[in-house]
Every structure is written in structure tokens, then in C-alpha cells.
């Protein structure tokens, strides 16, 4: 029998993997993929809550649709920024680039 707790536990594991990835990866695209994992963890939560807690309204599932849209929009912009920076990488000496530290 699968209960709500199973889904929530799975989602929190995914969320923490995502956080770990964001904090430790250097590559900007990998960081972006870790952020996608965090979004997906939230989506699992939404859909699980939608089934187990409010089966009359579709709030959770509708929110998940919006989250997917947002993820698409964010990925588009992020990859455009990556392409923009990459052009500079090729034009300027790579060693001289001092990426803003965080």
C-alpha cells in the first residue's frame, strides 16, 4: 500500500539531491539541471497532495502544469545566457575570465 508519506519522502530525497547539486557543481548547465530536480521534487509533492488530500479540486495538478511551463521558460532563458557567455569565452582568453564567485 503506497501512502502519501512514501511520495513525500521520495520528493524530499530528490529535493536534497537537487540542493546538493546546486551547491557543489561548477558547470552552469549542471547547476541548472540540479535546479530542474528541485522543481520536479516540488511537482511530485503537488501531485501527491492533489490525490491524497484534495481529490475534488485539481489545484495540485494544475499547479504542476504551471511549474512545467515555468521550467521550460527558465531553461530557455538560462541556455540563452549560456550561449551569450560562451561567445565571450571564445573571443577572450579563457584564463582571464574571473567568474564572479559566490
Amino acid at each position: 500500500m503506497i501512502t502519501l508519506n512514501h511520495y513525500l519522502a521520495l520528493a524530499s530525497i530528490l529535493f536534497c539531491i537537487g540542493i546538493y547539486g546546486v551547491l557543489t557543481r561548477r558547470n552552469a548547465i549542471s547547476v541548472l539541471m540540479s535546479i530542474e530536480l528541485m522543481f520536479n521534487a516540488a511537482n511530485i509533492n503537488f501531485i501527491a497532495f492533489s490525490k491524497f488530500i484534495t481529490p475534488v479540486f485539481l489545484t495540485g495538478q494544475v499547479f504542476a502544469v504551471f511549474v512545467i511551463t515555468i521550467a521550460a521558460a527558465e531553461a530557455t532563458v538560462a541556455l540563452a545566457i549560456v550561449i551569450l557567455i560562451y561567445r565571450h569565452h571564445k573571443e577572450i582568453n579563457v584564463d582571464k575570465i574571473n567568474f564572479l564567485k559566490w
Binding site: A28, I35, M38, E74, W102
Partner: protein, 479 residues
């Protein structure tokens, strides 16, 4: 199958619609217009913003819900819309000459600023976490793009990248927090969450949701542990966009925070105010202490904006009617004085951002020197400027709610901040000018924006009563 008609009410979203239509109009006109006729685009934009401002004022003192309780029109949202729209107006007016100088005069710039304003306005006037989140995303996406608008400049690109990665990371937290809140209360509607929080005996699950939301919004308002993006992004982004980021989106984040904390979670004030107390103290102190050692004026204002977020958090801790109204008054005053200070940096251009470049500014540009000194005095909190009045109301609301210690720490912090604000003034007035470059006349629209922000700073400082009454009339009833 029965047809359900959606609950549409165009009247209450008319300010948003105006902004949206103008943004689309600018976007359509951009490829159609050629050459010099493109100069009309910023004027279309600011006229649109002014129209939206008028329509917000006509909607004052009405309370209506629409779109299946997704959208609320009340004085609280109207007041915040006035803050956003005046900030946008100042930024558009002051960036016309800057864009030409930097050779990035494109219509998309104005249209993205308008879209960002649209997102902020929705954040301020929504009762549903779905719409708040979507508004926040629209706003943030526009800002990521605008931060990288100086495409040929690597620093600008990097700041855009960094802003994006940290912003999206924060959105992840916010989203997970909303999911938790939805699970705990069965709803994303703040009204229903309010009903739930008033009669809940096991709020642990609720609090993890609230905590994650606090982390997510903490990034947006740049409160202490989540501030590390601020200096780099402020430094790298084009200066008008830095001015924009430091005023509007911060106010929008606070509007969402006010609604969530003081409306939906108002009855649990004792539980969360402790966390916010610590955050407020750390944010104020950290921002002010680091700002002392800055030599780049954009970075200096970045740390100062962190400190100012701390002062607004004090008002949130205080809570109640006076807390809400003083936070709103503070954000309005901050918009004028902060953008005002940035307008002068915009005029001096992207190459003169070190404090040494400001030596003797007052002999070269007397008007700019005096107004910058005025804004610095206001940011530091000297009477009779708006900064003094805003700080006064915030700290007195804290004392009224019994947080005397917090108010004292806040006042001490303002004393620390006097040092670095006055340093700018001293450099401008006392030192001899370094270079003898040809004096450039002040562009008309930039001067207009400067005049408008000087008016705001002085009016809110000398005659604060009118706007304070406005703020007091526009609080939502705290639960």
C-alpha cells in the same frame, strides 16, 4: 456537459492590462520602426506607465475580488502599485540617454521593464500563491534578461548568469514551500490558509512550508543569509537596471511577504517573529558593516540596499497596523531616494563607478552634486528628508509593539551607515576634481526623473502626513 463561465472582471485589472498592452505595443513597433523614429518607444512606455498610475488612482478605495478569488483589488495592492509604477517611470525616463550612450537602444528593453512591472503588480494584488509565484517568475525572468542587456560586456553577462542561477535556486525553495503549505492547509488561497492557521493545533508541517517560503522570498528581498548575489549582480547589471532591481522587485517581494506573514500567518505572529527578529538584526548589521569598506559606488549602494531590507524587516517584526503601514511608507520613500541616487550614477556612466571619480563633482555639476548629497542624507536618515521620516515610523512602530531592543539596534545601525553615506558627500565636496573632461549637459528626461525623485524625497520628508495617511488607509485587516 455544463458550461462554466470563468469569473472575468476586466475593470479591476485595468492597470495591469494597460501595462501589458503598452509592453506588447512596444514589442510590435520595435521591428516596424526604423532609424530615428525608434526614439518614440521610451515615450510610449512612460506614457503607458503614467496612464496605469492614473488608473490605479481611480481604483482607490474599492475592494473587489475577481478571477475566482485569484485577484484582489484593495488599497494595499494599489499602494504597492503606486510604488512599482513610480519606480518604473523613473527608470524609463532616466535610461533613455544611457541606452544611447551604451549603444543598446532597443525596444525590447522597455518592453521587458514593463513586463517585469506587470509581474510585480500581480504579486502585490493576488490572494493565491499560484498567481504570486507566476508573477514572481515573470518579474524575475525579465530581470535576468535585463541584467545581461549589455551583451558585449562580460561582467554584465556574468551578473545575468549569477542572478539567474541564484534566483532559480530560490524559486525552487519557494515552490517546495508552497507545496508544503498546500499539503498542510489543502489550499493555495491565502484566505483559506488564514482560516486554517487560526484553528490548527499541530503547526509543525505548516512551519516547514513557511520556512522554505521565507528562504525563497529572502533571496528576492536580499535578506541576510541569502544576500550573496546582491553586490555582484548590482555591479554587473546596467546601472538603470540596478536601480530597477533595487527598488521594484524588492518592494514586490515585501508585498508578498507582508501578505503571507501578516495576513495568512497573522495569528501565529509570536512563532515566526522570533526568526524574523534575528534576520532583521543580521541583515541590517551585515549590510552596513560591509558597506563601510566599499570603493565602488554601485557595490556601496548594493550593501546599503541589503541594510535597508533589514530596516523594512524590523517593521514586519513589529507587525500590526503600524508595522504594515510603516513598511509601506518606507518602501515608497526608499524607491524615490534610491533611484534618485542611481540616476546620478546613470548620468556619469558605466566607467565612473569608483568613489574617486566623484571627487569634486559639485564644482563640475553643482546640481548633481547637491542632489546626490540630498539622496545620501536621505539614505542615511537625516531630517528633513524622507529617509528620516521612514526610519522614524518604522522604529516607532517597533517600540509600539514592544520591540525596543530591535529599535535600538536599528538606530545604532543608522549611525554606522552615516559614515559611508557621508564619505560620498565629503569626496564630492571637499576634494578637487580629477579630470578636466568636457562638461556634458544633463539630458532633459533624466533631469525630469531627477526632479521627480527630489520632489518625492523632500515631500515625504517635510509633509509626510498625506502619504502616511494613504499608507494607513491601505493596510489589509491583519486577520
Amino acid at each position: 456537459m455544463s458550461w462554466l463561465t470563468p469569473d472575468i472582471n476586466f475593470k479591476i485589472i485595468s492597470p495591469e492590462l494597460i501595462i501589458l498592452i503598452v509592453a506588447l505595443l512596444v514589442l510590435i513597433l520595435e521591428p516596424l520602426l526604423k532609424g530615428r523614429s525608434k526614439n518614440i518607444l521610451p515615450h510610449i512606455s512612460w506614457i503607458g506607465v503614467a496612464l496605469a498610475l492614473v488608473s490605479v488612482i481611480t481604483l482607490w478605495n474599492r475592494e473587489e475580488l475577481g478571477f475566482n478569488q485569484m485577484f484582489i483589488l484593495d488599497n494595499f495592492s494599489c499602494f504597492f502599485k503606486i510604488i512599482f509604477l513610480s519606480g518604473t517611470l523613473l527608470v524609463i525616463l532616466s535610461s533613455i540617454s544611457y541606452l544611447k550612450e551604451e549603444k543598446i537602444f532597443h525596444g525590447e528593453y522597455f518592453s521587458l521593464i514593463l513586463f517585469a512591472t506587470f509581474g510585480m503588480m500581480l504579486m502585490a494584488s493576488s490572494l493565491n500563491l499560484i498567481v504570486i509565484f507566476l508573477g514572481l517568475e515573470i518579474m524575475s525572468l525579465c530581470l535576468y534578461i535585463l541584467a545581461g542587456f549589455r551583451r558585449y560586456d562580460l561582467k554584465s553577462n556574468e551578473s545575468s548568469m549569477k542572478y539567474f542561477l541564484i534566483g532559480a535556486f530560490a524559486s525552487g525553495f519557494l515552490l517546495y514551500g508552497i507545496a508544503m503549505l498546500y499539503g498542510a492547509t489543502n489550499s493555495t488561497n491565502l484566505k483559506e490558509i488564514l482560516i486554517f492557521t487560526q484553528g490548527f493545533e499541530n503547526p509543525l508541517f505548516l512551519f516547514i512550508g513557511l520556512g522554505l517560503i521565507l528562504v525563497g522570498l529572502g533571496f528576492k528581498i536580499a535578506s541576510f543569509p541569502f544576500h550573496m548575489w546582491v553586490p555582484d549582480v548590482y555591479e554587473g547589471a546596467p546601472t538603470p537596471i540596478t536601480a530597477f532591481i533595487s527598488s521594484g522587485p524588492k518592494a514586490a517581494g515585501f508585498s508578498a511577504l507582508l501578505r503571507i506573514l501578516l495576513f495568512a500567518f497573522g495569528s501565529l505572529h509570536i512563532d515566526w517573529s522570533f526568526v524574523l527578529w534575528i534576520l532583521a538584526v543580521l541583515t541590517m548589521s551585515f549590510g552596513n558593516v560591509i558597506a563601510l569598506s566599499q570603493t565602488n559606488i554601485k557595490r556601496l549602494l548594493a550593501y546599503s540596499s541589503i541594510a535597508h531590507a533589514g530596516y523594512v524587516l524590523v517593521a514586519l517584526v513589529a507587525g500590526g497596523d503600524s508595522g504594515i503601514s510603516s513598511a509601506m511608507f518606507y518602501l515608497l520613500a526608499y524607491t524615490f531616494m534610491n533611484i534618485g541616487a542611481f540616476i546620478i550614477i546613470i548620468f556619469l556612466g558605466e566607467k565612473k563607478v569608483n568613489l574617486d571619480d566623484y571627487s569634486g563633482l559639485v564644482t563640475k555639476y553643482p546640481i548633481l552634486g547637491i542632489t546626490l548629497a540630498l539622496f545620501m542624507f536621505s539614505l542615511a536618515g537625516f531630517p528633513p528628508t524622507s529617509g528620516f521620516m521612514a526610519k522614524f515610523y518604522v522604529f516607532s512602530s517597533a517600540i509600539k509593539s514592544g520591540y525596543t531592543g530591535l529599535a535600538i539596534i536599528g538606530v545604532l545601525n543608522s549611525f554606522v551607515s552615516v559614515y559611508y553615506y557621508l564619505r560620498v558627500v565629503v569626496i564630492m565636496f571637499m576634494r578637487a576634481p580629477v579630470d578636466e573632461v568636457q562638461k556634458v549637459p544633463i539630458p532633459f528626461f533624466l533631469g525630469l526623473a531627477l526632479l521627480f525623485s527630489v520632489w518625492g524625497t523632500l515631500h515625504l520628508g517635510i509633509l509626510p502626513q498625506s502619504f502616511l495617511t494613504l499608507a494607513q488607509n491601505s493596510i489589509f485587516s491583519p486577520f
